[in-house]
């Protein structure tokens, strides 16, 4: 019995027990359902073992939406607790765990997979590739992410959630002050997911650099692919820092080292530095693909080419470079003195210049356009004003002397939500509406979509604008309660209303998916938006080989040119196509990694060693397996093409 005591949660509450029951019921229902409908074979063949970038992309997006609701539930609980002074809904420990998991889940298990999901689905199509460079590695990336995400998510019912904030600063995150296994979950789960992300970075960098269709030079790549390329370069440079920091944190917590401890020569500031050397580029890993999405959407629905293509590319490159030299602005108040702060203050504000260039280029893309206000376009048009509000407050935060007053307050919280929600979340929702017909063969209802967009946009303003005010009034972030005399009550109550509006908006999106699934017409063709880039040149649903023959590229809008000027896009004859085989190894490795992480969290060394051996066995099997892929014959391709509406 003693063995099992470690799995108990240190701070149980009825809500957590209810969640345990709900998780158990849902899990059983899923297993029973799949068995009843005899879908195990289908699931295994078509999804669990797939190496197809489109399916992996869809799985990433489904996981991201699930995590959005997990993180959203945390957010609602936090806002509810703070909605009134001296509220007793949550106690301090519970609140601390919730804001920690909210941050980690939203950044690493919602925003990241959402972005990587769209990169998976869109990038190979946009560059005319048949798949990514390393399809199996891509599957492994997904399953590592998924294992990490699930491991992190079970923490609140087994052993307790991390409670030191998503930044997990030491020594607070050390054993002395964070006594549950929560922070072990943080270290290990993010590590596993992070390995997957690092592999994604290598994979997509290679794909974009080596697998573009003939004629597509770098400066003829669509803007989303450009953003994906730069993002993956940042991933490859930034994530190893996180890997090392998490490994050191794990050693501190489980093996008694003192890298970040405040005693025996350790240094707490080292964690803060390492964390943000990764953490700030991470912000741009999130926002650059979002910028790419907006570029595609705005140009499509303004019916115009993207204004200032070259300066768009240049500004992204400059942003990516600057993203590595601003990390100190996350702790201007750590005592490094006026000189260091001045340097980082200037580099921080400098980022506003390339970002401003992008905003103006989008505005100028609208100029002389023919704007149709579809749901994706509406999200993009709401993004510009809201993100500008978030962006200019970022410049204010960059003024380091003034930052001594903003730091650690709700002003900061308001700022980063006002950039991440309009910047990243709106982009992902725009992309969801925009690419939905390509992914699933029907369109989401535009009217419901627009209502949802308005609710979410106004909800964002109502939820986060008051925080600027309460922050300037002295409300520190991460306080689980405040006194009535502080006067923060009214602002937090308004925030609560905004949070509920956001919840309603997201619920409406789910309803829209259900509604459109039932009622939307299925005969929408392959290019329902009259779009401009290559992903719309293939069929819907996209055949597994993407393009029957390789497109010939001569501009960054070749598909548009071929529609308008009639230049042939696919001049070649059909030949047999080489495709990779499915593989169960990535999925199995994902499961083993999950068990490996779980053993690690609870310091169960024997299962840990067994799992480690299992991982190496999988890798060895993978290395010695003789699999050269397979060919799709010309007849088979011709049949597929005929079925989908002829060769385009």
């Amino acid at each position: 019995m003693e063995f099992f005591e470690r799995f108990a949660i240190p701070h149980p509450s009825p809500a957590i027990y209810a969640s345990m029951v709900a998780i158990a019921i849902v899990s059983i229902a899923i297993v029973v359902g799949i068995t009843y409908f005899k879908k195990w074979g289908y699931l295994w063949r078509e999804w669990l073992t797939t190496v197809d970038h489109k399916r992996l992309g869809i799985m990433y997006i489904i996981a991201a939406i699930l995590m959005l609701f997990r993180g959203g539930a945390d957010a609602i609980m936090m806002r509810a607790q703070l909605s009134a002074p001296e509220n007793k809904l949550l106690d301090a420990q519970h609140y601390n765990e919730i804001f920690t998991t909210h941050g980690v889940v939203m950044i690493l298990f919602m925003a990241m997979p959402f972005i990587i999901g769209f990169m998976n689905f869109v990038v190979p199509l946009q560059i005319g590739a048949r798949d990514v460079a390393f399809p199996r590695l891509n599957a492994l990336s997904f399953w590592l992410f998924f294992a990490g995400a699930m491991l992190f998510n079970i923490s609140f019912v087994i052993g307790g959630s991390p409670d030191a904030g998503w930044t997990s600063y030491f020594p607070l995150a050390d054993n002395e002050f964070s006594t549950s296994v929560g922070t072990n979950y943080y270290m290990i789960a993010i590590q596993i997911a992070g390995l997957g992300t690092l592999a994604t970075g290598i994979n997509f960098m290679t794909t974009i650099l080596k697998m573009r269709a003939p004629g597509m030079t770098l400066m003829k790549m669509p803007m989303f692919t450009w953003s994906a390329l730069i993002t993956n370069v940042i991933i490859v440079f930034a994530f190893p820092v996180l890997t090392v920091a998490l490994a050191m944190g794990t050693l501190d917590r489980l093996f008694g080292t003192h890298f970040f401890a405040s005693t025996n020569g350790g240094m707490d500031m080292l964690w803060a530095n390492l964390f943000w050397v990764w953490g700030h580029p991470e912000v741009y890993i999130l926002i650059l693909p979002a910028f790419g999405i907006y570029s595609e959407v705005i140009s499509t629905f303004a019916r115009r080419n993207l204004y200032g293509y070259k300066s768009m590319v240049a500004s992204m490159v400059i942003i990516s470079l600057l993203s590595f030299v601003v990390w100190v602005h996350h702790f201007f108040t750590m005592g490094q003195g006026a000189f260091v702060n001045s340097i980082f203050s200037i580099t921080t504000m400098a980022i506003a210049v390339p970002t401003g260039v992008k905003i103006f280029n989008w505005l100028l893309t609208l100029y002389k356009g023919k704007i149709t206000m579809t749901t994706p376009m509406l999200y993009s048009m709401l993004f510009i004003p809201l993100f500008t509000l978030g962006g200019v407050t970022g410049v204010m935060l960059g003024m380091s002397a003034a930052d001594y007053q903003y730091h650690n307050t709700m002003f900061l919280v308001a700022h980063f939500h006002m950039v991440i929600i309009p910047g990243v979340v709106f982009a992902m929702l725009a992309a969801l509406y925009y690419y939905w017909p390509k992914m699933f063969g029907f369109m989401l209802n535009d009217r419901l979509g627009k209502i949802g967009a308005w609710i979410i946009a106004i909800g964002t303003l109502v939820a986060f604008m008051p925080m600027f005010i309460s922050g300037l009034d002295g409300q520190a972030r991460r306080m689980y309660t405040y006194s009535e005399a502080s006067g923060f009550g009214i602002w937090n109550m308004i925030s609560m209303v905004g949070a509920l509006m956001l919840a309603a908006g997201f619920a409406l999106i789910v309803y829209n998916i259900y509604y459109s699934f039932r009622y939307a017409p299925r005969d929408i063709g392959s290019d329902p938006w009259d779009a401009r880039t290559l992903e719309w040149a293939t069929h819907t649903p996209v055949p597994e080989y993407n393009f029957a023959t390789m497109p010939k590229i001569d501009s960054y809008e070749t598909f548009w040119d071929s529609k308008k000027k009639g230049t042939p896009l696919f001049p070649d004859k059909i030949e047999k196509i080489h495709m990779p085989n499915n593989s169960g190894i990535p999925f199995i490795m994902g499961i083993i990694f999950f068990m490996w992480g779980f053993s690690f969290v609870f310091a169960m060394w024997i299962p840990l060693i067994i799992c480690t051996l299992g991982i190496f066995a999988c890798m060895a099997y993978q290395s010695f397996e003789n699999d050269h892929g397979r060919y799709i014959s010309i007849e088979e391709i011709e049949e597929t093409e005929k079925e989908l509406g002829g060769k385009r």
Binding site: M267, A401, L461
Partner: protein, 304 residues
Amino acid sequence: MKLKRALLLAIVAIAAVLAGCEPLTVLNPKGPQAEVQANDIMMSIWLMSGIVIVVFAMLAYMLIKFRSSKQGKDYEPPHIEGNKWVEAVCVGIPVLIVAYLSFVSVQSNYKVEATPPGYEDKEPLVVYASSSNWKWHFSYPEEDIETVNYLYIPTDRALEFKLYSFGPITSFWIPQLGGQKYAMADMVTTLHLAADHPGEFMGRNANFSGKGFAENTFDVTAMSPVEFEEWVDEVHQTADPITEDKFEELLEPGHLGKMTFTGTHLDFSPAPEGHEHHQSNDEDSEENHENHDEHEGHSDHSSH
């Protein structure tokens, strides 16, 4: 129009910040450092509002003028690559704005990291402020006094807070006197403040430090030099001396009310000053140098 409504809401929200029913704490400074910061904040709010208005206006113009419903059915938008003059303006104006803000920012940095102007004639009052879960200990070496969770300060002298922590990283913050700075276990940071007028202010730890973080606050009372002297005398007459055992007891995690002692814990539990961060305008660097030798065995990042 819905868009207008959203824009209006945003503007109203900003206006609320600017006008404020009653002055917001940070924008209601009671000391020179907080005033520097409040001025920077207000200046940047106005400047940023200008940018926001330009962007909103451009967006509104584009959306109204170039909607497809306003265009002819056969209208084909032109292909425009970009114009170097337009792009030069789009880069140039932000560069000018950022350059101006950088200029102000650098100046303010040196102001807030030094003894405020007008207070140079007297030696600053040095107070060691150390945090433990979840309390603040204030040691006045000059007055030989130690308090817990409250701070008395004179209005005629600059204040030099020496910050460190007996636990997680905390952040010492008295918004009306000036911005915050971290207190950490392995080094001492210096925060320069001053109070212009007598009054009572809120002070707190602003950096999340665990379960008791929300209540990790202290009261600040600024008073005339005479009153401050009286208080010091009174403490010496009435308070008990702080002992090592008593101090160990105080360090136990939890919350305490206000307490007053004679003597300081610095005598038996000195601040980790050998690790002081090297600050470019640190006037005490020589003093630190002396302490440095005592801590030689430790890893040291400061470059004395």
